[in-house]
Symmetry: C2
Subunit: 272 residues, 2 copies
Amino acid sequence: MTRSELIAQIRIKRSFLCVGLDTDLSKIPSHLLETEDPIFEFNKAIIDATKDYCVAYKPNVAFYECHGPKGWESLKKTIDYIPNNILTIADAKRGDIGNTSKYYANTFFDYLNADSVTIAPYMGEDSITPFFEHENKWVILLALTSNKGALDFQFIADGNNEELYKKVLRKSQEWGSDENLMYVVGATRAEGIGEVRKLVPNHFFLVPGVGAQGGSLEDVANYGWNNDCGLLVNSSRGIIYASNDINFAEAAANSAKALQTQMANILDSKNF
Amino acid sequence: MTRSELIAQIRIKRSFLCVGLDTDLSKIPSHLLETEDPIFEFNKAIIDATKDYCVAYKPNVAFYECHGPKGWESLKKTIDYIPNNILTIADAKRGDIGNTSKYYANTFFDYLNADSVTIAPYMGEDSITPFFEHENKWVILLALTSNKGALDFQFIADGNNEELYKKVLRKSQEWGSDENLMYVVGATRAEGIGEVRKLVPNHFFLVPGVGAQGGSLEDVANYGWNNDCGLLVNSSRGIIYASNDINFAEAAANSAKALQTQMANILDSKNF
């Protein structure tokens, strides 16, 4: 999916919602456990119920690979099932030396055919650039994450008072463009989103942490907005586990719709 | 595998060699491609031929997962096949928020039953500590990597002149001990290994980059040695692709034995 196609979908659907598919066998409705592939059956129902309210789905790869080959099958079936006009994000946090990152890029872009993959920046340029060799695919690079551990290393400032996350933003813009590179910027650090937006005016941000982790949608929009919206705001547990009874899909649809309505108001207020 | 068991194996085998299983269908002998699981058949032959010369095997997960569920089956069969007295390292470079890292820990320690997994530190404490909840398992944390991109972020120094990789070493010692935490320290930066050893006197290092990437075994031993050896030196391509004809396993054995002989000389010279 290209940048302009993504922006068009945001305009059409009046939404910049990403639904996180952190699908956990211990949390899904028990009646699904009797099916052949409960993870896929759950995802299929969630996708059917929420696809009109979101512009992206983000399966969290950890929740699939902990089931071994069967989990990878559920992941592939899920990505195949997502409609083509919705961005697919393999949330995998990969990154290794160039020779190895090439194989990770093949995994997510060729084998799984996801539109994008999340990447950790610690190993630098050659760990990231192999992902840019795939056309119309995206790297979503960790910059400022939403978790408590973000404080351990991401705010280390060098002699010029430039924090690590800012250096990641600055250097990585030499490797990719706003057509193939987005950033993870956590909603739990709203003022941080503003700092990032100053350094990165054009790129899209994938913003986790709204809902269960405590971030506010209004703050995210205030600090992170750009002329093309520039935001994908993720919600996982708040949508997919809105209920765990037989009506789980309807409850997920209601939760997704409530967020989409808030987003439509924000888009209206920005005359977008 | 515990620390004392690992040290005992180094003494018995006169080796601190780790064989990297970066198994690539385009590089293995063509006669194996007709078998049902060429990757496993190749690894099996390599393990049979080299197991007396090494104390660890390190499958590089990228090379397996690019084949989807079938690749994960090959990976599991490979780890199951490795004798119990040899450390298994899932080279996966994972790391995510605590709630997700828990699932990655389940993947590598429960599902795959590997002894250890490599982890990227960018997301800090809660991305790493879930891996310590599994008994007799190891985190191998990226500190100073062997690739060119290591220069992009790992050497950023804060106001106290402490580089990022040193801060990773210092902080992470608050989270794990030398009984469950090792570090990746690349052989291509021998003087860096000495710097790391000063900060981390007791922990084991996993040292990639000897051979194809240009690092020297003598330098690694000079700079990285501690009283318990403290080193696992990895070689991948130089061993497993020593030949790609019908005698590939014998050629791998010869390459592994040559490194083991050098290591035995080093252990002798240290009166270990």
